[in-house]
Point group: C2
Chain length 504, copies 2
C-alpha cells in the first residue's frame, strides 16, 4: 500500500447518495506477488513499450498525437521511452464517479470502490426451457430489465447480449435506448464505429444535459486492444470520442496465452499491462484527467484442444497480480468476472465463476464487467446464470465489507444470558443481531433433503428459471421525463432513417 | 507475518519424499483483519477462558490434569488465567510430518504446507443414478479407493461415509482396515469411545511398527468440542490416547452462529478460538510437543428457516481471520472445506464450495477435511461431488504455488519470434512451455457448444458419474506385506469376537 500513489479523485463524495449503489471495500488488499516480482513485471512492460513498441493502426490522427507528445513513431510503430507511459498516466484519476440518470444509482469506480456489471458481448442467449439461440432485442430488453432489478448489479453494462434481429449498424441505438429507458443504473456506450460512439455521447447529452455531460462522467466506452501489441482505430477512435468528451474509457487487452501473448502467465500479465498502460497514456494526451479504467482479460487454454479455458488457477492468480500493478499505477482496475467455459449453469460453471470472481474481488478490481450471466467462454448469456451469479455477488459485497469488531459484534454480553453447554437461540444478543448477521442468499436452498424433495427436487438452474420469469412479470420501469423520452426516440428515428440495414 | 512465532518443526524435511504429496505455499498469506482487530479477538478468547471458563465434563482425569497444571477448577468448570493457554501451547509444533505406510505419501502439515482430505461423517451417500441412501461398507471402500486414486487428495480422512450396514461398535475396525489396505495415503483414526481410539493406535502399531509409532505421527484423531464452551470425554479421552501416544490431534469447534455461539461472526470466531486453544493447551499437558491442529468450523444460518447455510460470506471471512489467529499462535490450522447446503452437485453446491475453499486455501489452512465430497450440510457424501471438488483442489494447489517470475516466464525471448499483431501459437517459447503452462482440469469441459451437444450435452455431474465408475473399474490396490495384512485381520477378528453388535 505504501507504494500506491494517491492521486486526485474526480468527483467528491458529496455527489454520492446516502446509501451508495456500489461496494466499498473495508478490508486490506491481497499481496500475491512480492515487491521484487512486481518490479520485474513493470520492467518487462517498460521494455515492451520501449524496445518492441506498439502498432497503432488505421488511425493517422493517433500517430500524430504520439508524435506531438514526443514518442518515437516509425510508420505505425510507436515506442515510448522508459517511464513515459507511466508519467502521462499520472493525470488519470485513481477513482471517479459515473453518474446515472437516477443520482441514487451513481457509482464510484476506483480506490476502495467496486462496481459490478453484467456480461458483455454474447451473440447467443440460453435459458433452461428454450435452450441456446441467437439473442434478440426482446432478450436484450429482458436482460436490461433483470439487471435493473438485481440489487448486486450496480451497472447496466452494454451488450448484455447481441440483439441479432436488429441490423448491425442500428443495434447500438436500440441498446442505448433500453439502457436509458428500462433502467436507471449507469451504463456503457457503443464502440466499433466512431459514429456509434458519437451517437452514444449524443444520446447521453439528451438524457443528462450537455452541460452536465461536459463536466461529469455519465457514459463509458469499453474496448479490447488487438493483442499482441496492436491498437487499432476501434480503440483510438473510441478514446478520441469518449475521453475527448470527458467520459470514461475502459481498455482491456484480451489475451489467450499462447495465442495473443506468450503462454507463460507472467509474460501475459506484463504484455497486457503494457497494452493497457499505453492506452491510459493516450487517453491523457487526448484529455488530461479523463477517467480511465485499466482492463485485463487473460485466458488459459486446454492442453487437449487449444480451446480457451476459464476459472483456471493461472488467470485466477493474474487477477491478484494485476490488482497489485493497477494499485501501484494508481488507476481503477477492470478484471475478472463470473467466467466459465461451461455451456450451462452447472457445477463447472459455478466453480469456475466463483474462483474467478473470488480473486477478482479480493484482488481489488474496481469495475467488473461479466460479473453475471457469462456462459460458454462469453458466447452465450445465461438467464439463469445471470441470477445465480448476481446472488453470489451479494455475498462478495458482504465479504469486501469486512467483519464488525465493535463491542456488540465481539459479543461479551451474550455470555451473560448463556452458560457453557447452553443455547444462544432466543438469547437477547441473538435476537438483536440475527436479522443482519448473515447474508440472505436468494438462490441457495438450505432446506432439508425431505423438504427439498417435496418441493420438486429442483436444482439451482430450475429455481433460477422460475425466479427470472416471475421477475419479468413484476418489472416496472423507472420514471423518465416524457420530453426526454420523446427526444431520445426522435434522435433514434432520425439516425435510422438515413441508414440502410447492414447485417455484418 | 512479523508477529508469527516460528517454533521448532517436528520431523525434518529429509524425511519427506522428493515430490512431496502435499501442497507447498509459495505466496504470502492474506491479512483480512488489521492488527488491532486481531488483538481484540485474542483478548475476547482470553476473557472467555479466564472469566467464563470451559466445562470439562465426563472425565475426572482431565480435571486432575488441569488442577495439577494450576488452572482454577471448580466442579467441572476450568478457568485459565490470561495467557496460560497460549503459554502451554508454545510446545506444540508449528508443523509436523504425518507418516503414511508409503513414505512417498508422507505429508507435512503446518507452516507453508497444506493437506487435502475428503469429507468426514455423512450417514448418507448420493450418486447420480442410485440417488441418496444410507452409506454401506461397500460405499465406504469405494470412497477410500477413489480418494486413493485422486492425486489432489493427499490424505484418506476417516469416515468418508458411515458404513451403516456394519454395527456401530465394530464399524471403526472395518474403516481402519480399509484405510490401511486399500490406500497408502495417511489417514485419521476412530474417536467417540476411548477403546476405539486405542484400537486405532494399536492397528497403526501393527502397520508401522510400535517403535516407529512412538517416535512419529502416523495417525490422528479428529474431534469437535461441544460448543458452547464444553469439552466432553470424547475430546479429552481422544487426546489422552492419541496425544499420549505422540500422535496428532485435531480439535474443531463446530459453531452454528446463534445456536452454539453468538450470532455475530466476530464473537463466534473468538469463542471457537478459545475452545480450540484450551484443547491445544490440554494436549501439551498430556504430552509436550504432541502434534496439534487448531480446528475451526463456523456455519451461518438461514434467516427464513434457521437451517445451517454454507459458503456464505461470514464463514468465508472467518476462514481468513482464523488463519491469521492460528499463525499468530504458531500452530497448524484446520478450517473450511468444499462446503454446501445443496442436496446435489449443482451450481449452488459448486459456488458455495468454491468460495468456501478459496478462502480456506488463501487464508492459510494446513489441513482441510471436507475438501471433497461434502453435500447437504455434511449429511451426505456425493460420489460425483468428490470428483468435481478434487478437480478444483488441483487448481488450488497450483494457485498456492504462485506464478513463476524467472526469465523464461517473463518471456522476453518470445518477442524475438513474434511481431506485434502476430501469433504466438507454434512459437519456440510457446512450444517449450505450453505443456506445463496451464492446469489441466479433468472435470471442466471446454469444447465448443456443438461438440458438447454431439457428445450428449452432459453436465458436470454426468461426466463425474461416468468418471468414477471407470475409476473403480481401473482400481488396483497398493501392495501390503502379507504378514501385516494377516495380523491386521487377526486383530479385527479377535476384537469383533468379543463384542455383541450394537446399532446405536
Amino acid at each position: 500500500m505504501a507504494s500506491r500513489r494517491r492521486k486526485r479523485e474526480r468527483g467528491s463524495a458529496r455527489q454520492l447518495p446516502a446509501a451508495p449503489a456500489y461496494v466499498t471495500r473495508k478490508i486490506p488488499f491481497v499481496e500475491y506477488v512480492q515487491e521484487d516480482g512486481l518490479v520485474k513485471l513493470e520492467e518487462q512492460a517498460d521494455w515492451i513499450l520501449q524496445e518492441i513498441g506498439i502498432e497503432f493502426r488505421e488511425d493517422p490522427v493517433a500517430l500524430e498525437i504520439w508524435k506531438d507528445a514526443g514518442a518515437d513513431v516509425k510508420e505505425t510503430r510507436v515506442r515510448l521511452p522508459r517511464g513515459m507511459a507511466r508519467k502521462l498516466s499520472a493525470s488519470a484519476p485513481s477513482s471517479f464517479v459515473q453518474h446515472a440518470r437516477n443520482p441514487e444509482k451513481n457509482v464510484r469506480i476506483g480506490d476502495d470502490a467496486t462496481v459490478f456489471a453484467p456480461v458483455y458481448g454474447p451473440p447467443f442467449v440460453r435459458d433452461l426451457e428454450s435452450g441456446r439461440r441467437y439473442g434478440t432485442i426482446e432478450d436484450f430488453n429482458n436482460l436490461v430489465k433483470l439487471t435493473y432489478m438485481l440489487p448486486s448489479l450496480h451497472h447496466s453494462g452494454f451488450v448484455t447480449c447481441e440483439p441479432c434481429d436488429v441490423a448491425v449498424n442500428k443495434r447500438h441505438l436500440d441498446m442505448l435506448y433500453a439502457h436509458m429507458r428500462y433502467t436507471d443504473k449507469p451504463h456503457l456506450g457503443a464502440i466499433v464505429e466512431k459514429s456509434r460512439a458519437e451517437d452514444s455521447v449524443a444520446m447521453a447529452r439528451i438524457l443528462h444535459g450537455s452541460e452536465f455531460v461536459d463536466q461529469n462522467c455519465v457514459i463509458m466506452g469499453n474496448v479490447n486492444t488487438n493483442s499482441p501489441l496492436m491498437v487499432d482505430k476501434v480503440v483510438t477512435e473510441a478514446i478520441r470520442t469518449y475521453s475527448a468528451a470527458g467520459q470514461g474509457m475502459v481498455v482491456a487487452p484480451f489475451i489467450l496465452g499462447g495465442a495473443m501473448g506468450p503462454v507463460t502467465t507472467a509474460a501475459s500479465i506484463a504484455q497486457a499491462f503494457a497494452e493497457a498502460l499505453v492506452c491510459c497514456a493516450f487517453t491523457q494526451l487526448v484529455r488530461p484527467g479523463a477517467p480511465f479504467i485499466l482492463g485485463n482479460f487473460l485466458s488459459s487454454m486446454s492442453l487437449k484442444s487449444g480451446a480457451p479455458t476459464f476459472g483456471m488457477p493461472e488467470p485466477v492468480a493474474s487477477n491478484y497480480i494485476i490488482g497489485q500493478l493497477a494499485r501501484r499505477l494508481g488507476v481503477p482496475l477492470r478484471c475478472g468476472g463470473s467466467l466459465t467455459a461451461s455451456k450451462i449453469a452447472d457445477a463447472q460453471a459455478a466453480a469456475e465463476s466463483a474462483d474467478s470472481m473470488h480473486s477478482t474481488i479480493m484482488g481489488g478490481a474496481n469495475f467488473v464487467l461479466h460479473a453475471a450471466g457469462w456462459l460458454e467462454g462469453g458466447l452465450s448469456t445465461g438467464y439463469e446464470k445471470l441470477l445465480i451469479d448476481a446472488d453470489r455477488l451479494g455475498a462478495y459485497q458482504k465479504l469486501l465489507g469486512g467483519v464488525d469488531l465493535d463491542d456488540n459484534a465481539i459479543g461479551r454480553a451474550a455470555y451473560e444470558d448463556v452458560e457453557p453447554a447452553g443455547h444462544f437461540l432466543g438469547s437477547a444478543h441473538t435476537m438483536s443481531n440475527y436479522e443482519t448477521a448473515y447474508y440472505d442468499a436468494a438462490m441457495s436452498n438450505s432446506d432439508s433433503f425431505e423438504q427439498w424433495e417435496d418441493d420438486g427436487a429442483k436444482d439451482t438452474e430450475r429455481r433460477a428459471f422460475e425466479r427470472w420469469q416471475q421477475m419479468l412479470k413484476d418489472y416496472e420501469p423507472p420514471d423518465l421525463d416524457e420530453a426526454i423520452d420523446e427526444e431520445l426516440q426522435a434522435f433514434i428515428a432520425r439516425k435510422k432513417e438515413g441508414m440502410a440495414d447492414a447485417w455484418y
